[in-house]
Symmetry: D2
């Protein structure tokens, strides 16, 4: 070793900077200037807590029918966009949510895409979703699945407007850059099986001998609220709720007992009258719908009251508490199933 390297701080900084410039020309960069931001200590929540009161939102939904038809819109949906993520079409860091309206006599034309979609019915009657050759009639509280890459369309054969919440994994599929989409040659895809076939075949405690599932989604594509509600109320007779979460159930794929969908984790819970939940947080950002009852969520120092049909968001890794004035049912969904499969899911319970 001949000459010792120049060691004044200025020289070092300058030479490093010059080095970085030369790296840059080679499509390289020093990790050490970025490490702390690339691999931070803890998650910084993506998006903010927010709530859409249905009585405030509903006029806009109805007005949308004056501006565009289901056919022209393809899907007449008002995106619920997180106020901190404007322009992204996201409710949370990985998920999309919107409120879809279909008017009597309309059809939202058939297409398919690699994104999986869930529907949670908010109001109305007489509309249907058709998936892979079967129609299902939708009633408030029903949970409906459109598996990725299945042909689906919607129609309203009733006499009033029908509204549901759409949840899609659009941002997640975009992250993997695996979006494919195809429009059906016909407005309505062919119906090949009677209504109720999938529920009878896959959702009655039985499965056809030798059945092989065609996808990672549940073959039951409508979980009717009547049955779900009965189950939730049965739970209240058997024991106390989880002190943080209430009586919490997940929708299940009967083929393997896992989550009903591969990318989105749908759950439903009953908070008994007077429930005062203890604080909880988890790495998955959640989108809730109030189905019955009334209560409030305390999140990020903010109190948000909710009533039936309201939609609200709790960002990931943000502590929240749920309260219920009367027996209250909340539907929710998040990316928890994806995080579990990837080994990323974490949760934290606080004593209060």
């Amino acid at each position: 070793m001949s000459t010792p390297p120049v060691t004044t701080a200025a020289a070092t900084a300058a030479s490093r900077e010059a080095f970085y410039q030369r790296l840059d020309a080679r499509s390289m960069a020093p990790l050490w200037t970025r490490l702390k931001s690339l691999v931070p200590k803890d998650p910084t929540p993506v998006g903010v807590p927010c709530l859409w009161r249905y009585d405030e939102v509903r006029p806009y939904i109805m007005e949308s029918a004056e501006h565009i038809s289901a056919r022209e819109a393809e899907r007449r949906v008002l995106i619920l966009e997180n106020p901190a993520l404007r322009g992204s079409s996201q409710a949370t860091g990985t998920l999309y949510a919107g409120l879809q309206l279909i008017m009597p006599g309309e059809i939202a034309p058939a297409h398919r895409h690699t994104q999986s979609a869930l529907r949670f019915v908010i109001e109305g009657s007489g509309a249907y979703t058709a998936v892979d050759g079967e129609k299902t009639l939708m009633a408030p509280g029903d949970f409906v699945i459109t598996p990725g890459w299945t042909w689906h369309h919607h129609g309203n054969e009733g006499s009033g407007p029908m509204v549901w919440l759409d949840g899609l994994d659009i941002p997640m599929v975009a992250h993997y850059n695996a979006t494919f989409r195809e429009d059906h040659h016909a407005e309505a895809a062919e119906i090949a099986r009677p209504t109720g076939d999938a529920l009878a075949r896959y959702g009655s405690g039985l499965l056809p001998v030798g059945y092989r599932a065609p996808s990672l989604n549940s073959p039951i594509f409508n979980y009717p609220y009547a049955r779900t509600r009965e189950a939730l109320h049965a739970l209240t007779r058997a024991g106390d709720p989880d002190p943080h979460l209430g009586h919490l159930m997940r929708y299940v794929n009967p083929v393997d007992g896992g989550w009903a969908m591969p990318t989105m984790a749908p759950t439903i819970r009953l908070l008994p009258k007077g429930f005062q939940g203890l604080p909880f947080r988890s790495t998955d950002g959640m989108i809730f719908v109030c189905v019955e009852g009334e209560g409030a969520v305390e999140v990020g120092g903010q109190q948000m009251a909710f009533a039936p049909r309201d939609v609200f968001v709790v960002p990931g890794w943000t502590s929240y508490r749920l309260r219920a004035g009367v027996d209250t049912v909340l539907f929710s969904f998040s990316d928890r199933v994806a995080q579990e499969k990837l080994g990323l899911y974490r949760e934290e319970r606080s004593p209060g």
Copy 2:
């Protein structure tokens, strides 16, 4: 090597025999004298086809109540013993079946054992099975599970006799020499959960978040016939039956989508009016119950007509054909689940 061995046939036979004698003294034996019988070309069916007409059997069941009480008998059951396996308490090579009677006001006292049991309800109302702290009321056509090593007892709170078919894996558990049994200190084990809790919790398309199954059996322990029947009839609207088997469904464990029990494979099928099944055989011996309708099974050159509540057996690897005069529902169970897990199950479909 000096002297060549003696090679006359007589000498050889004699010396072999002497060798076998010397082996015998060492607890050894030549495989080559036994190979063909130990490892035959094909299965020789165990047991024979047989049928118990319920109208003929019922008087005996009722008479049994005059001879012994449920308490004294512990379980007042008439074993259905395969005519070719007398003394074995077996209906097939691996399974036990019997008809159990419980009279009003009786209790069949609580015990547990490593054998799993299934019940298929034949007649009556007002009786219950209690499993692990929950009672379920039983109605005709209900399929009820008692998982291995769970406390269970039965009672009749109705006003008439109640009869069901018991299916147990007694011979299979004996084969593995893994039988354990324990009597409960009380006649009736404690009831800790409300009736219907398990069905609500595990059989509604939902599962509690974080639920871990305590055994390999389904946590749903009563699959009510009302729901099953509706599912079977829905199938008839969606397509043609399997030409050999009819509309065949299996009872499912919601935790993993597998068979509802680890040792016995319960199925139920609808044969539409006029069904003329093509020949079929499989390695599992099967026990059938006619639930509704009427028909016949042709098996081993024999024709056996069946009506509701009749029980019949088709031994393994014996070809059979099912026929139905009217819409007919058949429950059946076998050891197919065990054979599948062990890589042994085979089936064969013949064109007719």
Copy 3:
């Protein structure tokens, strides 16, 4: 209710007996006279502890070559028959074991059967097993699998006799009455892949992308002792052995991480010098081979010393303790994998 039933004990016994006779004519039987024997409190061990000293057995093995050729015998094997189960060809309640000899130049002709077989090599070199088109050379300590229903034959291309232990699930497959067997048209089935292919392809920490296993058996069909031995000795450097079982490892199916075979559970263990195992029992009857070292097993009040190549049996649910004078390696197999799948396996550890 008119007349009360006759209640003198004699009358009761007589009328019951008459009832039983009438049941018998209908292929029925009262459960209550058999319940306690059908469903006993605890397992009564099947078979007795026993040991075959290799130095005593070897002369018989070698003599067998004078009495019959491999071709004539199909498999020249001396069955190791449990002294308490003579005539059954069983070492335990569910498993068969034997010692097979193949002489230089001989071929044990190709066949297949639904039984799975394992080989544990005892002595010699130069012989091979061919499975599904691949030959594997066998060396002492190698563990070789013949999956059910795969063509296989053996040959000896060396200059001395070769002996291995055969383990088969013959009694278990017989219990399910699912035995099928076929002889190959040629003495030696065709060899289509180079020796070592399966180990390279499936046993190197890699699997071919898209590989689907054709059976429930491991696609690695020779687990060479050199690698196994190295692994066992590595364990001794990392920590203390299980106080009951020693350093116990199981052979694994790389496709799913489960046991290497669906019906037989093969394990190998190292007992460090001076090991004094605490008492243990489990519901599976076990067949052991001493590979290296020396020690003793205390079982059922009996002490059996073992040296390399000795084979011994510990019946199920029989407490035993293992001791080792020097570093000792024991191979063993049982039906534990089947019992686990069926929910029957139990074990019990005693403090000493």
Copy 4:
């Protein structure tokens, strides 16, 4: 209906726009103006094909040691940043890659993070990675895993520089906003198990009886190249390569037979001399390292020649062909495992 809505195009456009403004104030947006961009027909590749020639890059790597120590840098890595994704620290849409240098005597201090990391060793000897209390020595071609949330550090006890490729799921974990990170109190975490323990225990065709995996990553954390190379060459003796992909193998988790890591799918392949691959594309963007041999990849109309230690990227859903002048080994990794779990993975083979 009274007055028909105003229908001139201008009025419609204006009223829609006004409606959108009012929606905006409520954190809502019309889906129909965004649908086609949110759910496009096909993926538009993220990033561009690119290659870093090791002989060009190596001087920069070595120079980095003059600018910063491993201790100061925490990890002295040059990020390989996709030229079309500058500033993102990404090589593909979901993955990070970099070249890490550790000089003799240095330690890269212990930390842990929820990101999983893989290392593929490029040059040098004498360095180690320590994971969860075990050190593994690293040699060129070794594939080393650091499971998420395990303590790990690196050290160089040799006499020359050591370089490896780092692959991390940083962008994917960021997408789920599930990044946690912790620094160890000591520079080097404690070593509790001997070197080679994990490979012996989990990578020898055996697993400890009763072993439960602590994470979704393989417990083998070094897959040595010597064994991998032998396996690859064995494949060339058994049959022809896949005409698109060559002899392609995946690194496997012995606990379940799945991919070795839950978020990144590591593979290695041998292209035999003269291999001219047919076109192929899949939804996962891939990062390759040439281990041995030489060849070229044709991708996106571009020809990129590669030699040992070169790193190159093929973006997702971009058709490519591989060619090899001599027997050539390529390591690669992508997010395929995540896409498979989420139901998103697709591939397409073209005839040429």
